[in-house]
Amino acid sequence: MSILTEAQAKTILDKVIALSKADECTATLQGSIEGNIRFALNNISTSGVVTDTSLSVAVAFGKRSGMASINEFDDAALQRVVRRAEDLARLAPENPEFMPIIDKQTYTPSNTFNANTAAITPEFRAQVAADSINPCKAEKLIAAGFLEDGQSFVAFANSKGNFGYQQATGFNYTCTVRTEDGRGSGWVGHALEDAATFKASHDIEIAKRKALASREAKALEPGKYTVILEPAAAAGLISFMMNFFDARSADEGRSFLSKKGGGNKLGELVFDPQVNLVADPWHPEAPVMPWDGEGMPRTKLPIIQNGKIANLSYSRFWAQKQGKQPNARPGNLLMRGGDKSIADLVKGTSKGILLTRTWYIRMVDPQTVLLTGLTRDGTFYIENGEIKYPVKNFRFNESPVIMLNNIDELGKPVRVAGDESSMVMMIPPMRLRDFTFTSLSDAV
């Protein structure tokens, strides 16, 4: 039952819309089959499959709205869920910020489904674990990792004739390799569309190499350093900052994008002119659904253009109030870069520190988006274009706004694996000046 075809989904949704007596109605069906495997200490620890399907009905009478869900789909169940949503709506308080449902839209499908990824079996997952573990065992290293894959569909229809259906798959692999003595640790992460292109035995070599190379770390004094952030290390900081691109917060004066005296910084130069960020649901390596959670069609949306704020996130309510165009919430984040690899950036560095991964990133001060966090799983000192030796991990206190004003050079963007942030992202490696480390960490 989990994955319905477009025709099956449309039949159910049409029945729901026809059953509703409310001023407006939106019905959403979604289903998923998600599989995962965890391994640690060179052994499989847990593994499972979860299937789920549900129908959600949202209705409104005037500015009063109600929502109900169900996971049965016979006619009596559909009748029941519609009546329940309507009963809730009649009892609900009026919402002064109520917005009517969206009109009929045309969505351009994005390529979010891959048949190879949808066909993953428990044996495939066990093999990924084995291909990660065995090369580690052979070199007295210890692997701990996680593979999560899944297939899903979402379909929705509303009483203005709008309809959307699309299937999706997902694949996210991460693995940490540690030395037996606990003095070295390396990490690799990989998110992709086509599971057939994945080779754990290839990826694991990256984590192994970093684990072995990070033993005998030396302590450097905390302070300001030139750093190279690998894409995964940069992604956590940049995605955190994107939480604060909401136009309403900026207009209300409680965002780093608020202007002194009122208004927001839309159109202003806030970052280094090398910074370009867009959202694009049709990106071949990082596709996402062509609509957002409200069914608003996503477009290719510039967010930062040559360092200037190109678009803030306007909800439909706030856009109407401010006389602006609303935009769909971005589903991905694509940062432009150059052609250079991480190795090329290292070659061009006279003195600096290479960061594999950043961790436990939290807000310290929303006024400046000051974030704190730590480096982990491969931190190295660079001198004269070469990695010289591993260094002990640092705690940083740094604002991504300041960091993206201190860009020395950007490399070639890559798809980053979900780590602390699950946002779909293409991020380049980057060399930055004056990155602020405030203390040392003994953690390996």
């Binding site: 109520f98 428990p122 996680f146 991460t174 540690r178 961790w359 310290v364 604002s399 203390s439 003994d442």
Partner: protein, 544 residues
């Protein structure tokens, strides 16, 4: 902690077409009071247990769960959203050929649970081919058919939405009248109706309740463009709606004038205080970085205990099971053998899954183990960890500590933190008496920014209110404060802990761990405690 998830929840409006997955399916408020017939749950559980055994499982547990979550979200004079969520299904875990397998389904029928049991056995067998060490499960007694319920006085799910919305809108109005520019307030109520059955012969029906009422009060100085906020000083609790009914006996006025609460919260009074304190924050001087003696209120200390004691003493982390994400632990097994001096002799830390009113209190954990209290650190020395059935033997234990939890029927249960608390001092000592003895210090109230490394050595914490202490007296608020610690040095710098009359619980409603990520709720108690010579940094920056 999944603070990011919480931020995402707080930012929700009624505009979305679906509830966030955490809430499950949207239902009517009155359905939050419904339960599933235990006889039906027993029948389904027996079907699953039989199917698993027939499929070759040597052990099986079945969790039939109905997870109810309600949120009422407001800002200023508006109710932004009301969510009544339900998620019902069954999770089946088996051991076959020495390996674990897990499958979950929302089809609560005989066919549905039998299929999931067979799927779990098939997954276990696929994994067993690569398993070098078979799973060893510590024994758990058969408890037969038993039940447990959080001792609540007033079921929050039974309180009409309108009453909750009126409470929050009243809180918001009070904050605005006291000078706030913006205020958000939210009420979360959670009820986990969990049924556990296993091939050990236990059938455990539990009804678990939790409540949380967070808020944020912001004041903006338009001329300077500066804004400051303060979060509410309440705690999430394993209680009913009675927690939100003010009681003067549960109110604590602290040195410096801030007011905090124990077992009953006055949300409106806290909102008014917050607005006044945030206005002071905008004028407060910026801290001079350096070494200070810190006096930490329990509304703050819970988070430091959570991050620097609770997590590092989870045995699965110590062993390396969380190495890929949450990390490992500096508190390695050899340190227990050596009675590692984790803290000063003032530091006594207990784990407790039975503490009344706490978030972690249950009768049995999610693998059928009866809950208890035990020591982790005694007079500063490390004496024990927290563990579950398939790791207990590694500690030389014959029974689990009862720390297994899953946040949903669809999540596989694994080790989660018990309530871990700092015992109050045995000598009579109040916060006011403690502060009198501090020459150059900072008094911190409320939890703020928090971050700690993957082995739990280096941590940084902020707070909500920071008061400068000079020569035994509070001089006023200061700002831009964060302190950085190395865990063992910090706990060894603990110079005093106030007595039991000052003991209060704080806690986390959304503590994150695991892959795929799961949340759990856990409390941490303490009395006000003093830590000498701690490194404080200044967090002010300029964006130019």
């Amino acid at each position: 902690m999944h603070r990011r998830e919480f931020l995402a929840l707080s930012g929700l409006t009624a505009g979305g077409l679906l509830l966030p997955s955490f809430f499950g399916n949207a239902i009517a408020a009155e359905q939050l009071l419904e339960t599933i017939d235990p006889a039906l749950k027993k029948r389904l559980a027996d079907d699953a247990l039989s199917a698993a055994k027939a499929a070759g499982a040597s052990y099986c547990d079945v969790r039939i769960g109905r997870y109810l979550r309600q949120a009422v979200m407001t800002r200023e004079n508006k109710v932004q959203g009301v969510m009544n969520g339900e998620s019902t299904g069954v999770g089946i875990r088996v051991i076959a050929n020495g390996a674990w397998g897990f499958a979950a389904t929302n089809e609560l029928s005989q066919a549905g649970v039998v299929r999931a049991a067979q799927q779990a056995a098939a997954i276990a067998k696929a994994n067993a081919k690569f398993q070098t060490v078979p799973v060893q499960l510590a024994k758990a007694p058969s408890y037969g058919e038993v039940a447990w319920k959080t001792p609540i006085r007033k079921n929050a799910m039974a309180v009409p939405i309108k009453e909750k919305a009126d409470l929050l809108l009243g809180v918001n109005a009070a904050a605005m009248a006291a000078g706030a520019s913006f205020v958000n307030s939210t009420l979360f109520a959670i009820n986990e109706q969990k049924y556990f059955a296993s091939t050990d012969g236990s059938y455990i029906d539990q009804d678990v309740h939790r409540i949380w009422a967070p808020m944020g009060v912001t004041v903006i100085d338009k001329a300077s463009g500066k804004f400051r906020s303060r979060a509410g000083l309440s705690s999430p609790r394993g209680m009913g709606y009675e927690y939100l009914e003010p009681d003067p006996a549960e109110r604590f006025e602290l040195p410096g004038g801030a007011v905090v609460y124990r077992n009953a919260y006055d949300m409106k009074a806290d909102a008014i205080a917050a607005a006044k304190q945030v206005k002071e924050k905008l004028m407060a001087k910026s801290v001079k970085p350096g070494k200070y003696d810190l006096v930490l209120d329990p509304s703050h200390t819970w988070l430091t205990i959570h991050e620097s004691v609770g997590h590092p003493l989870e045995l699965d982390r110590v062993l390396g099971y969380e190495a890929n994400y949450a990390g490992t632990s500096f508190a390695t097994m050899d340190k227990r053998e050596a009675h590692f001096q984790y803290g000063s002799d003032k530091v006594n830390i207990v784990a407790d899954k039975t503490q009344p009113g706490s978030l972690g209190a249950v009768g049995w954990d999610d693998e059928g183990v009866k809950c208890k209290q035990w020591d982790l650190i005694k007079a500063g020395k490390l004496v024990d960890y927290q563990t579950i059935r398939d790791q207990a033997h590694i500690l030389g234990k014959t029974e689990s500590d009862g720390c297994c939890y899953a946040d949903s029927w669809s999540s596989v249960q694994f080790q989660r933190m018990a309530n871990v608390s700092l015992k109050a001092g045995s000598d009579k000592l109040s916060p006011a008496e403690m502060i009198k003895g501090v020459e150059n210090g900072i008094y911190i109230i409320g939890d703020g920014s928090f971050s700690i490394d993957q082995q739990r050595y280096n941590a940084q914490f902020g707070g909500q209110l920071f008061y400068e202490i000079k020569n035994g007296k509070i001089t006023g608020q200061i700002e831009d404060v964060a302190y950085q610690i190395r865990t063992p040095e910090f706990w060894n710098a603990c110079a005093a802990v106030c007595d039991q009359s000052d003991y209060r619980l704080g806690g986390s409603f959304f503590d994150g761990k695991g892959q795929p990520g799961q949340v759990s709720a856990v409390s941490h108690g303490s009395a006000t405690a003093r830590f000498n010579g701690i490194n404080v940094i200044n967090t002010a920056r300029s964006l130019g």
